[in-house]
Every structure is written in C-alpha cells, then in structure tokens.
C-alpha cells in the first residue's frame, strides 16, 4: 500500500494552542512539590520536563491534566484559564507510564472510547479510531485486547487513544519507562513523528536525559520543585545554567582549579567560564568528558597532564576512558578508534579543550554557609 498518511480532520485546529503555566505551586502536607513553576509552551511545541524522581515534574504534568489541584498559580490553554476545570473537561490527551488500556476493550474500542464521550456518531468513531491506529501503525492489531499486545504496542494504542479526541494538549508521563531499551528508542522517535504530524502542543515528562534531549524542542530541567533551566537541548547540554543541570545532563568531571579574571585555571590549562563574573578564588570546574582528549605518553602534541588508563568502556562509535591522574579520576570520551590505542594500564597525557565551563558551588564553603 502506498503510505498516504491519513488525512486528519479540522486541519486548521490541529496547529496547536499555547499552554501557559503561571507560578504553579503545589504543597503536599507541608512539603513543597512544585515551587512557582512558570512555563509557556508555544503552539505545537514539545517541551520535555527532565529531572530526578521527586523533582516535581510529574506533579506539574498532573496539574496541567487536572488530575491534581494547585495550591496556587494558574494554568491557561490558549489564553483560557482552566485551573479549576475537572480533568474530564480539559480536553487533554494523556499517556501514562503504567499500561493504561482498558482491559475489557479491544485496541479499536479503546481508541473510540474518548470519541464516544464526545458525542461522535458510531460510524465516525470507527473511522477516526481506524485512522488513529493507522497513524501509530497498529491497524492489523485493531481487534486485539491489551493482554494480547506487547508493551510497546500498548503504549502506541494509548497514544492513539489520547490523540483521537483531538486534545488541546498532549501530556506524556514517562510513557517509555516501562519498555526495554530497543523498543524505547524506536517508540520515542515514533512519538516525535506523530506529534509533529498532528501538531499538538505537548508536555513530556521523563527522568531520562537522553530521551529528553532527543525528542524535545525545549528541555526544562527541574530540581527540588524548581525549574533550573529551560532551553533547547543543545543549550542545556553545552551551556548548563547551573551546576545541577551540568551534572544531571550528561557526565561531568569535577576538577579543582583557580578562578582568575573571568577564566579558570585547571592544572595549568586556562578555560573560559560560562559566567565570567564568577569571583576569583579556588573553585571546582565542571568539565565534559568529550572536552578531554588524550594521547600516548611521548607523542608529539600530547597534553600536560600525565595519568594511567584504568578502564575503557566501549559505547559503540565512541568509548569512555577512565584515567587516573594520581589525585583525581577523569573521564574522557572519544571515538573508539582513538581510545583503542590506549588500553587499560597505558600511560597517557591529557589535554583539556578550552570549552566554556561552569563552576560548581564550593562544597566546603556551602557547608560553612
């Protein structure tokens, strides 16, 4: 069959609406789960909220869905205040971490369920449910029950079900966490493809940084109920605004150095700072593994830092090399061909590439404060 993508109705309304969270706050029995979260998601945009468990990302999503009540703040869909609207009247599509298909219905009936509540005629229900299943590539499984489908298929039906009602907002609550790695990657790309196709404004919650960076237009990194940084994936990765973001997203080396005049000197190498106004004095610089390169001891162009390779982790195209500098252990990431020249035990010299680095808050000073 020639893959003519199903034509969606109401194409004009498909372009998505703006979703705005204004100073959302949620307190559970005295514990602040979400602290003044403000966030505007542009029409059709996919924003991922990323953070460790308990950072408030799921709380934020549930407040947008209407499944939980705000302590203070507002939620606006396309300028309309929906803060106190029940979950069933918000027009949101939601995919959950746990498998959520209704066990007594077929895939088709699951997708049609929401339509039947929106007073859509039986024939139209069937047609649209069929379209949605085709969109997620599950037409051949339309008459199967949840227990006859794999985990990935169940989540795709759940996505079709959420999109069938043509929601104003699509909310994804760690939809991939229950799946194994291979399926996860494929379904992640699938979700993105479908989301771009229907153009629904989407909020995606995850604790997996790779997932967030791969799928989102913008990533919001959360910690302890607060939004630490919001920006495109590349900015989050290469220009982390806070030490927490730097350490949560990707791997980082903590290296002691001295800040002097808008630069930090780490073991003789001058590195520029992300925030040049950092006061002078001893500090801990956060250096990405890919900013560390190594060469065999004695090679021309070898760096100033001498150390011993203690482990090489093969990651496919790249490898991660762990080097012991004597007083500190440094991770370096590089193409596998380069790494294989220096097996464990060999003496190497390291070079730090002068990428802008972030300064971690000095823990000793923090403890004294």
């Amino acid at each position: 069959m020639i893959a003519s993508k199903p034509q969606l109705d109401r194409a004009g309304e498909r372009s998505g609406i703006e979703v705005r969270l204004e100073q959302l706050r949620r307190v559970f029995a005295g514990v602040v789960a979400l602290d003044e979260l403000s966030l505007t998601i542009a029409p059709g945009e996919l924003v991922a909220l990323l953070g460790p468990s308990g950072c408030g990302k799921t709380t934020a999503l549930r407040l947008v869905a209407g499944l939980d009540e705000v302590t203070s703040g507002r939620v606006l869909f396309g300028g309309t205040d929906v803060t106190h609207l029940g979950a069933n009247r918000r027009d949101v599509g939601m995919v959950f971490q746990a498998y959520s298909l209704f066990p007594h219905m077929t895939a088709m009936q699951n997708v049609a369920f929401g339509l039947s509540l929106h007073k859509v005629g039986a024939a139209e229900q069937k047609r649209r449910a069929g379209e949605m299943l085709e969109l997620v590539g599950l037409s051949p499984h339309a008459h199967k029950y949840a227990h006859q489908l794999s985990g990935g298929q169940q989540q795709r039906v759940a996505l079709a079900r959420a999109l069938a009602i043509q929601p104003k907002v699509l909310l994804l609550d760690e939809p991939l966490s229950a799946l194994d790695a291979k399926v996860r990657g494929r379904l992640r790309d699938e979700i993105r493809r479908v989301q771009l196709e229907v153009g629904t404004t989407t909020l995606f919650v995850t604790h997996d940084q790779e997932e967030a960076l791969a799928i989102a237009d913008r990533v919001g990194v959360m910690n302890k109920g607060r939004l630490e940084q919001l920006g495109p994936p590349t900015t989050i990765y290469s220009r982390p605004a806070t030490p927490f973001v730097a350490e949560f997203v990707g791997l980082t080396n903590r290296m002691e150095g001295d800040v002097k005049g808008g630069e930090v000197i780490v073991r003789g190498t001058r590195l520029p700072l992300v925030k040049p106004d950092t006061p002078d004095g001893p500090a801990v610089a956060l250096v990405r593994p890919e900013a560390v390169s190594l060469a065999s001891d004695g090679d021309a162009g070898a760096g100033p830092l001498v150390g011993t390779v203690i482990a090489v982790a093969f990651l496919g195209a790249t490898s991660r090399v762990t080097v012991d500098l004597g007083d500190v252990i440094v991770l370096a990431q590089m193409p596998t061909s380069q790494a294989s020249a220096n097996p464990a035990g060999s003496r190497v010299r390291l070079t730090l590439r002068p990428d802008p680095v972030l300064i971690a808050r000095d823990e000793k000073a923090a403890a004294e404060a």
């Binding site: 979950a87 009247r89 939601m94 746990a98 959420a162």
Partner: protein
C-alpha cells in the same frame, strides 16, 4: 478422585435423603407423591415468605453494591488513609454474634415498624450489615486486581465523568467480583433465620420452620428447593462470570 467421591457423597447423600423423604406419602406404605413439592407454590404463607426472601435477596444485593462500590473506589483513589477504618467497619459484623446484633436491633426495628413501614422488606437494612464483611472482601480483591488509579485517570482525561468511569470502566473490569459479591449476598439472605425470627418477620427459613410443624415433607421440600436454587446460581455464575474467557474462546474459533 477419591476426595471428590467422598465430598460428593458428603453433600449428595443428605440431599438425596431429604428428597426421598419429601416425596413420601402419609404412611410408610403409601405410594410416592409430589404433594409436598406442590405445596411450595400453593400454601399461601409459604409462597409469600419465599417471595419476600427472594425480594430481600435482590434488594440487599443492589443496596450493597450501591453502598460499597462507590465508597471503596473513592477511598482507594482519594482517601487511602481511610482504607483501614472502612475495612474494620465492614468486617466488624463478622465478629459480633448474630444474636447480639439482633438484640441491638430490636428497639430500632420496633421504631421502624411503627414509624416507617411494617413490611418485611425493611429487613434489608439488617441484611445489608450482615453481608458487608463477605462482600467487602470480594469487591476489595476485585479492585486490587486492576490498576484502578491509572484506568480512572485515563478515562477522566478522555472526558469521562465519575458515572461513566464507574459504569464503563470499573464495573466491566471487576464484573466477576461483583457477581461473586451478589451471589454471596443472595445465599446469605436466603439462608437467614435468626434476624427474621427474632425481629418477628416471616422469611423463607422461618416459614420452613413453621411449615415443619404442619407438614415435615413440605418443609424438607422447600429446603431442598432452596439448596438447588443456590446450586443453580453457582452454576450460572461459573458460566457468565468469565467474559474474558469467552472472548478468548471466540477468537480461537
């Protein structure tokens, strides 16, 4: 196999003996007769009592579901801290002897007979308490077997109000537990004697006792009939209580 034979004999011999006794004539030598069985549908007091018991069984089952199901769902979703308390309250009647319960209810029922209604159907109130422990346990097991929170939230986000969530999502997924709870209620109500007798109502069991003073054969016939009725209910349940199996079979075909 031997176990089944022993168990079968244990249940079937007394029932067979009861049936044999209920078909005897007036004397040992008289021919077999079904007069005692005919009396079930002809003796007015008996017919009335049986009808009342059947009505009570239906009313109690419905009232039990209306009271327990929404409460249990709400407690599980919104007030999980109350679960222990609700469970304790529902299991309490099990620990109180029926006779103590009745003595406590006598003044209440005196008041009800005077001020509300003297209909035997008012017994459903007492029976509701009687069936709580058993039905609570059954429904609780049913609710525990599904991911109530996620299914409810999924349905809510798709636009379902609480009524729709209940009728189209929760009930169909715990239908077996609901049928079991109803069967337990029906069996308990049909077999109930103490409450009715001490509160001066004539339900089926009380009527069987009275009838035994008049005609032992008829009272035994009613007893056998009610046992067979309970068996029939069990059979029906085991056939209609498994929609999922039926689906699986249909797909194999």
């Amino acid at each position: 196999m031997a176990v089944f034979l022993v168990l079968g004999a244990f249940f079937l011999i007394p029932i067979g003996a009861m049936f044999e006794f209920s078909t005897r004539g007036d004397t040992v030598t008289s021919p077999r007769t079904l007069d005692a069985w005919k009396a079930i549908i002809t003796v007015p007091d008996l017919v009335q009592a049986i009808t009342a018991s059947l009505q009570l069984a239906v009313i109690t089952s419905i009232a039990m579901l209306l009271l327990l199901l929404p409460t249990m769902v709400w407690v599980r979703l919104r007030l999980p801290g109350l679960k222990r308390i609700i469970e304790f309250i529902c299991l309490l009647p099990l620990t109180v002897p029926a006779i103590a319960l009745v003595v406590g209810m006598v003044p209440l029922y005196r008041w009800i007979k005077i001020n509300v209604s003297d209909s035997i159907l008012m017994l459903a109130l007492a029976y509701l308490i009687l069936v709580l422990p058993y039905t609570y346990r059954t429904l609780d097991a049913g609710l525990a077997s599904i991911d109530l929170k996620t299914l409810t939230e999924a349905a809510r986000s798709l636009g379902a109000g609480w009524g729709t969530v209940m009728m189209r999502v929760i009930v169909p997924n715990i239908s077996t537990a609901i049928l079991n709870a109803c069967l337990l209620s029906v069996a308990l109500v049909l077999g109930e004697f103490t409450f009715a007798n001490l509160l001066f109502y004539e339900n089926m069991q009380v009527a069987i006792l009275y009838e035994s003073f008049v005609s032992a054969g008829t009272s035994i016939a009613v007893a056998v009939a009610s046992l067979l009725f309970a068996f029939a209910l069990l059979m029906i349940l085991s056939f209609i209580g498994r929609p999922r199996d039926r689906v699986a079979r249909a797909e194999e075909a």
